[in-house]
């Protein structure tokens, strides 16, 4: 009797440790399975941020957004990932979207083409920034 309690206790401990280890090492999840909280054009998003950053932060920051716009620049980052700039209606700045490294390069449209993507809005630093983006 005593032995079986010990065995159960040991099993619970091992399971607990395994769950803890798993949670601790869990990688950052892609946005694949997450639904967009809002759908907005890149120009509308950029103008909302430039007109009232505080309000736009409250509305969009930390949210997964589906955005659509014209691709004006394609940049290769030092880790091989790609960052896209979507036209925001401003001569210099726009919506800067870092693609998730899992995105297939073939899926990225050419410069000047329209692009639709889903990503996490993280705020404004001259450009409005989106992270972990996936092409839709």
């Amino acid at each position: 009797m005593k032995k079986s309690i010990l065995i159960i206790l040991a099993l619970v401990l091992v399971a607990g440790a395994a769950i803890g280890y798993y949670m601790y090492n869990k990688p950052v999840e892609t946005l694949e399975s997450q639904d967009a909280a809002a759908e907005i054009s890149a120009t509308a998003l950029f103008s909302e941020f430039s007109e009232n950053e505080t309000e736009a932060m409250a509305n969009y920051e930390g949210k997964v957004l589906a955005i659509e716009g014209s691709l004006i620049e394609k940049m290769e980052n030092s880790d091989g990932s790609t960052t896209l700039i979507l036209d925001g209606g401003d001569p210099i700045f726009g919506v800067k979207c870092r693609l998730d490294p899992s995105v297939d390069g073939e899926a990225i449209p050419a410069k000047g083409e329209p692009v639709r993507l889903k990503g996490l809005c993280i705020g404004m630093n001259a450009d409005v920034e989106m992270n972990q983006c996936i092409i839709l």
Partner: protein, 183 residues
């Protein structure tokens, strides 16, 4: 004589108005923490940097939430508990390259850069003097620098429980491939 002066003036003005601003919006900022229990790396590939070669003024800015970690929990703790990204979304470094006059951007080469400036992280501003390198190649200007940041200098509190996992001195590496600012 008058024509010569006019020509000369035009040449000088054109030279003066020549490209002096260099820019990137996908600079790399990484940090590395080496502690007895664990090594942690975080990478940001979307730093914005501007260099004015006329004055040597250089400015970097990053959104804290664009630092990517391998582990979800670390990314969450970094943003929520340590740098408090919601309260302090941006970090900036506003500096001057004091030996800009010794750097010839028209000639390919690698030049040491002495940098003096103000770093703002977690809402706290500190003066730092990191050393950097400017590499000029085919009209492109690359900036590189590596320096140490101490979380405690920026009032970032690391609880004792994770003290063995986070270094007291964080190594920061900055890489920026700058291009002449268009438009």
């Amino acid at each position: 004589m008058k024509t010569i002066i006019t020509v000369l003036l035009i040449t000088v003005t054109t030279a003066l108005s020549a490209q002096t601003k260099y820019f990137t919006r996908n600079g790399t900022v990484t940090f590395f923490s080496s502690a007895p229990m664990e090594d942690i790396t975080a990478e940001n590939y979307n730093a914005t940097a501007v260099l004015d070669t006329e004055t040597g003024a250089v400015e970097f800015s990053v959104l804290m939430k664009s630092f990517n970690f391998k582990k979800a929990l670390m990314q969450e703790h970094f943003n929520e508990n340590y740098v408090e990204s919601d309260k302090f979304p941006k970090s900036t470094f506003k500096a001057k390259i004091v030996n800009m006059d010794k750097i010839d951007l028209t000639k390919d080469g690698s030049y040491p850069a002495e940098v003096e400036g103000e770093m703002t992280i977690h809402g706290v501003t500190k003066s730092i003097t990191p050393e950097g390198t400017i590499v000029v190649k085919d009209g492109a200007v690359n900036l590189e620098s590596k320096f140490i940041v101490k979380p405690e200098d920026y009032e970032i509190e690391i609880p004792d429980v994770v003290r063995e996992k986070i270094a007291k001195e964080i190594e920061v590496t900055v890489l920026a491939d700058l291009e002449p600012l268009k438009r």
